[in-house]
Symmetry: C2
Subunit: 414 residues, 2 copies
């Protein structure tokens, strides 16, 4: 999943990469320079060797495992910061006796853990410190479910925090739904994620137990150039229309405002597990697939355009008088004329061997006013419904970011 | 998992990478050159942009999704060729009516599919051709279970092809054991693997149905420099002692000889799913961990040495008269004085959320003479046994490689 959006001014400034290109002769000098010169991020070059390159002269390859994304800022990292190759969503349920004080202690632990792990240093209690050394742009974004907020302060629970209204086509499985605490663990490296996930679960064990975990992926870093919109496992370009974090209206769509109390500068996350019915999708030809989506498969262009980011013309008609983009095509049903009815998406693929699909995540101020009306329209008549089924659903309040010396969730739990 | 071994002369020459380093000024020239100049492998550079780099000037990053490893050669690719970040093992069971002719047709299909997918071109029947375009060093290694060989020619079944003798500590789960046909799908990119796995399963569906799939991973490409031995999820350096494909004795250990009939230039694969009991491992301090393994955690050096590749001295004693490396340490039990009792390992980690461990794969001429005696010793007394449990086991005959115009398994099925 390529990184397409520049950070907003409000976003914690991500690390400036020191990945540099060097001439082959300059390689060893660059190695020395990289070791000494990078303040925020260390990056180096390696002589790529081994079986894959037998016979070729050694070549330099960018090595980026040391790159880090700061966890501090007005907003939590992992929402508008760089897209990474792997994202794991991990939900936990609070233990019965985890009260205000327990939650406070848990958030203290989590804050320190996130600060250490994202910086590539092992937290004190880490018994596999060597596995913490390469953060590979690790971010850990923490979300609160309804029950966690309720235990701290019932009056602080936003109206939207809880199960979404039911959609007629939902086939929700409890194994992928709900949860009191969410950890979104993202990095370019799967070993980094495995270690961070295990360490964090272990550290909060006195307070919460795992409920579900869903692992997602996009293209590995370096597989293709950045700036591409990802392709999902149906082969579609997925996520073209998305508000840009740098745009003037982004804040009003995604970050909660001063009237949101403890959630100011926070957000609301909706996570949907969308199973793809690939066996039946396989039987649809390319014309049928493009008709259902309203976009071409190769470019992801609207059927009324040529390029991915061309504006769809929902009114354009063909020679027979039908709209070129069907009224029930996915992009027509997803489209809203209300500019406030937009969401910020960050989706990844999943494939557990038996089942493939999309971990569809979106951030917004208010799911009931943003995600729900869009999904209502899709639920009613999207042509794609024949091949996608929502089987998991969860909503979390995403508290604002924090500073060094501060703490995750400090605006809620003191 | 770094690529550490150069290819043997017998190995299909892997693609010479055209990944090159360039000065920043030379970037656009290099882009043009890469597009025109790479015969076997295309590689380019990209301006890395987006949220992760806001504020930094654009930097060049090696883009390697187009790199390919040829599937043709004396041996199948994926055994001694480059280690990749992701490896999926997929076992299928033959349908009851898949006879000699069905198996022949299936192998014809598979051969064409593997040739196309590893070259980054979509097979004819591929309905998501865009997902086939970036092979990211994809290899597909095919193995035959006992039942497949028996259906073709009962006299061709090697004595070692079938379930291994039972080990006392085995806790085997059928869900991770056995199988008639194996596909080992390896690449640096998880989207490439998801697409290849799904396409191949679909294409052989008239002949075989999926039995199990096990997904493994090592460090993502570019996370760290090549040449490192991988670290497993216990934090140990894992796989230090391994015969080198370039060494003179490799062939005699791994590739079957002229007396092996249809398996000449093939091999025998043992795959073991080894669950790690990380909850109890967490309670062991570093001294205890190093004692159990016989190696240091940080360097992976034997306790009698300083560096990873130092030769362990199993006779060395401490001031109290005890051997420095316990007789029951993992490396002492795994060690054999018989040079023929060695295996070629290619392990990857697994983490399915609930369970973590190692997909331990090894290649050899004869599992009964090579893997079994080693595992017998470990099963009897390895100190590590308290924290590892073998829960899956499978043995496959790996037929030799094939040439363009030829076919997978042509020495068995004609």
């Amino acid at each position: 999943m390529p990184a397409t959006e520049p950070a907003t001014a409000e976003t914690a400034a991500p690390s400036a990469s020191s990945t540099r290109s060097v001439s082959r002769r300059g390689l060893f000098g660059a190695l020395a320079g990289a070791a000494g010169g990078a303040a925020v991020t260390a990056a180096g070059f390696a002589i790529a060797g081994g079986a894959g390159r037998a016979g070729a002269e050694p070549v330099a390859e960018t090595i980026h495992g040391s790159e880090r994304i700061p966890c501090h800022g007005a907003h939590q990292a992992g929402i508008t910061t760089a897209h990474t190759a792997h994202v794991s969503y991990l939900a936990l349920d609070l233990l019965p006796d985890a009260d205000h004080d327990g939650i406070l202690r848990m958030l203290r632990l989590l804050s320190g853990d996130v600060e250490a792990l994202t910086a590539g240093t092992a937290p004190l209690a880490d018994v596999e410190p060597e596995l913490a050394e390469l953060p590979a742009r690790l971010t850990v974004t923490v979300g609160f479910g309804r029950e966690l907020v309720r235990r701290v302060d019932p009056a602080a629970v936003p109206a939207w925090l809880g199960p979404l209204p039911k959609f007629s086509r939902d086939r929700l499985d409890e194994a992928y739904s709900g949860g009191d605490l969410l950890l979104v663990i993202a990095a370019d490296d799967p070993v980094t994620i495995a270690h961070a996930a295990r360490f964090l679960v272990k550290d909060v064990r006195p307070f919460a137990k795992p409920r579900w975990r869903q692992d997602g992926f996009a293209r590995a870093r370096g597989t293709e150039s950045g700036g591409r919109t990802m392709r999902n496992l149906m082969g579609q370009v997925d996520g073209t229309v998305n508000p840009k974090p740098a745009s003037s209206d982004f804040s009003g769509l995604v970050w909660l405002g001063a009237d949101a109390g403890w959630l100011r500068n926070g957000s609301a996350l909706v996570l949907r597990r969308i199973r793809m019915e690939l066996d039946t999708w396989d039987r649809v030809d390319r014309v049928g697939r493009e008709f259902a989506m309203g976009r071409t498969l190769r470019e992801g262009a609207p059927l009324t355009g040529k390029k991915e980011h061309d504006e769809p013309d929902f009114a354009a008609r063909d020679s027979l008088g039908f709209t070129v983009i069907s009224k029930d095509a996915h992009i027509a049903r997803a489209h809203s004329t209300d500019p406030g009815e937009r969401i910020y998406r960050r989706a990844v693929n999943y494939d557990d061997g038996l089942e493939q699909g999309l971990l569809f995540a979106c951030y917004q101020r208010d799911p009931l006013a943003q995600f729900v009306p869009i999904q209502r329209r899709l639920d009613e008549a999207d042509l794609m419904n024949e091949w996608v089924t929502h089987i998991g659903s969860a909503v979390f309040a995403i508290p604002p970011g924090w500073r060094a010396g501060g703490r995750l969730g400090e605006t809620l739990v003191a």
